[in-house]
């Protein structure tokens, strides 16, 4: 079941933001295997949306349907308000994408590869091609390697060139499928910087990744997929809070605080660093009010947040309660 939090806790706003991408009931069946099933996804304009999910959860298939590369078996996809794939000629010029890794011709240089791509970009005039390619190369730090044949590029350089391809023309929406694959920490930081720059320019970004720390650092919104369906989506902060609604209260007299709260039927327990209060049925202010009424000195109260990692593990693990699993953000390291 889709747990959607976009509208749930959000304060009422004057105008709903436009959606850069929107899917409804998206389903894709390959022969007998269901790759994606009933995906309802919203990508608000201006957001940086992280798409999370274990391998084979349908991230790439969803992206490919969104970009019109694959026809959905059922359901609809909209990109910049245009139905896909029917209106791809209207929407795609404004969309940059790096899907399923970089794809380039080995015998051409990085620069010539980009020139070939740029030739097909409707938003670039004939005279702008050279400049656009130079800019894109500079943006990903490949200016010096631009003249070398793609054949000799390292994995990280290939990935950067793919990123440059997505940034060739002025974009309104950039889709990056695993952009940090094969990049070293410096490269990863650069991708983070590129995403931040795009965000600052008001460009909407959809980035799929299984590097949870990466997503947590760069994204404003998160969509979590598991086994072809969306299991959670919404603003990152809300998701993290809603996942673990508890308040950590530091107080010198913890025992009294717990008693006072329990008297008011507020679940609470003593923790090493204070009193942990369950917030699923109570607001933070009512908790503090109760404590103050009971003459408990409150030194500090803060909402407790667990990382994205715990949330992700909880949402995507078939059998919960196996805390000994390898944290997902380490899987790529272990595999490489």
């Amino acid at each position: 079941m889709t747990t959607s939090l976009t509208a749930g806790a959000a304060a009422p706003v004057a105008a709903a933001p436009r959606l850069a991408a929107r899917t409804r009931g998206l389903r894709k069946v390959y022969r007998s295997a269901v790759a994606v099933d009933g995906v309802d996804m919203d990508v608000p304009e201006g957001a940086v949306v992280g798409m999370l999910g274990p391998n084979g959860s349908g991230k790439t298939t969803t992206i490919r349907m969104l970009l019109g590369l694959v026809r959905p078996t059922e359901g609809e996809a909209e990109l910049l308000g245009q139905p896909m794939p029917a209106a791809s000629e209207t929407s795609l010029p404004h969309v940059g994408a790096l899907v399923e890794g970089p794809g380039f011709h080995p015998f051409l240089s990085g620069r010539d590869n980009l020139l070939r791509l740029a030739a097909a970009e409707p938003l670039l005039g004939r005279r702008q091609l050279d400049g656009a390619v130079s800019d894109a190369l500079e943006r990903v730090g490949l200016t010096d390697a631009g003249h070398r044949a793609y054949r000799g590029y390292s994995l990280g350089m290939k990935q950067r060139l793919g990123l440059a391809g997505a940034l060739l023309a002025p974009r309104r929406f950039v889709v990056l499928d695993e952009p940090t694959n094969g990049l070293d920490p410096a490269g990863t930081r650069e991708v983070r910087r590129v995403i931040a720059d795009l965000h600052a320019d008001g460009v909407t970004v959809l980035v799929s990744s299984h590097l949870l720390a990466e997503v947590e650092a760069t994204c404003t919104h998160v969509v979590v997929l598991n086994q072809g369906t969306v299991v959670a989506q919404g603003e990152l902060d809300e998701l993290l809070e809603s996942n673990n609604p508890s308040l950590l209260v530091s107080t010198p007299n913890g025992a009294r605080a717990v008693d006072a709260l329990r008297d008011n039927r507020i679940p609470a327990r003593l923790a090493p660093d204070g009193v942990r209060v369950d917030l699923s049925a109570n607001t933070a202010s009512s908790v503090i009010e109760t404590l103050v009424r009971a003459d408990v000195a409150v030194e500090e109260a803060r909402r407790e947040r667990t990382g994205l990692e715990d949330l992700f593990a909880r949402l995507t693990q078939a059998a919960p309660g196996e805390p000994e699993d390898v944290p997902l953000h380490r899987v790529p390291e272990l595999m490489s």
């Binding site: 919203d42 019109g68 794809g103 097909a120 409707p122």
Partner: protein
């Protein structure tokens, strides 16, 4: 469950933009003729008529008075025969290989490289994509046939001079007339290669392995030529593209025997239409 069908408050207004077709065609040509494989095969094609010419200059002339002498025997003494003979010989294997190679790289090879996606996302519509790809393959075919014809006639003229331009019928042609016939031969061979190219594109659109395209097209050409050897299968022969390939020698008669040549064009046109239709259907429905 909370539904989140956020109303789309402001319509997206996106200016429509489209790349001019010549820009795409030019980009395709630049790519096709920088591919090392294409260049190697074209180089080979350019050298082969020269090698044949050198070999023939050491050979004796054919038996006098034979109304249908083997074309290469004639080539030893006629500058006209060398380009047409070279085209005939190369049409049975190396020229089809060139085109099948180009056709395989055009879609299947790009798909395997992951480069087709880049243009589809730019976006280049699938119909246009096939048009551009077909143009690229057609250009390779034209260049390949012209190259053979050009180096062939040059070699022939160098070794025999301009006065030895006699036909199988015994007449001698003026130089311009002979050049015209070589041009017709190159054009006719180009059309045959386009037919093969269309079939190659259809296969190319259905697979991710360019080698499969090469194997299928060359296999088809060879099997067809073998089938043509059996008179018992003559009911099948009109459907085989290589059935007309012997007709090229009719360009060396005076006047030219057009019947078989025309039939060859018709046969090629059928292959062309069927091949391109299949390719179009596949390109439209395949996943990018």
């Amino acid at each position: 469950m909370t539904t989140t069908t956020a109303p789309i408050s402001v319509e997206w207004r996106l200016p429509r933009a489209r790349v001019a077709l010549p820009r795409l065609l030019l980009a395709e040509l630049r790519w096709v003729f920088r591919r090392p494989r294409t260049l190697v095969v074209l180089g080979l094609l350019a050298v082969i008529p020269v090698i044949i010419g050198i070999a023939l200059s050491f050979a004796d002339g054919g038996p006098a008075g034979d109304p249908n002498p083997p074309v290469f025997v004639t080539a030893a003494s006629s500058a006209l025969a060398l380009p047409i003979g070279a085209l005939t010989v190369l049409l049975s294997l190396l020229l089809p290989l060139t085109v099948a190679n180009a056709g395989g790289d055009a879609i299947a090879g790009e798909q395997a490289n992951g480069t087709l996606r880049g243009w589809l996302l730019a976006p280049v519509s699938r119909g246009r994509l096939l048009l551009v790809k077909a143009f690229g393959v057609a250009a390779v075919a034209l260049v390949a046939a012209s190259l053979v014809a050009t180096t062939g006639i040059l070699t022939g003229l160098v070794s025999n001079g301009t006065d030895g331009l006699f036909t199988l019928s015994g007449t001698t042609l003026p130089l311009l007339d002979a050049l015209g016939r070589v041009a017709i031969a190159a054009g006719w061979v180009t059309v045959q290669l386009w037919a093969l190219g269309a079939v190659a594109l259809a296969i190319s659109a259905s697979t991710e392995h360019p080698m499969l395209v090469l194997a299928t097209v060359l296999g088809g050409v060879i099997v067809s030529q073998v089938l043509l050897l059996f008179p018992a299968l003559d009911w099948l022969h009109p459907f085989l593209l290589p059935a007309s390939w012997d007709a090229l020698i009719n360009l060396m008669r005076d006047p030219i025997w057009w019947d078989a040549l025309g039939e060859g064009i018709l046969r090629a046109a059928c292959y062309l239409v069927i091949g391109l239709s299949l390719a179009y259907a596949r390109v439209l429905t395949s996943d990018g």
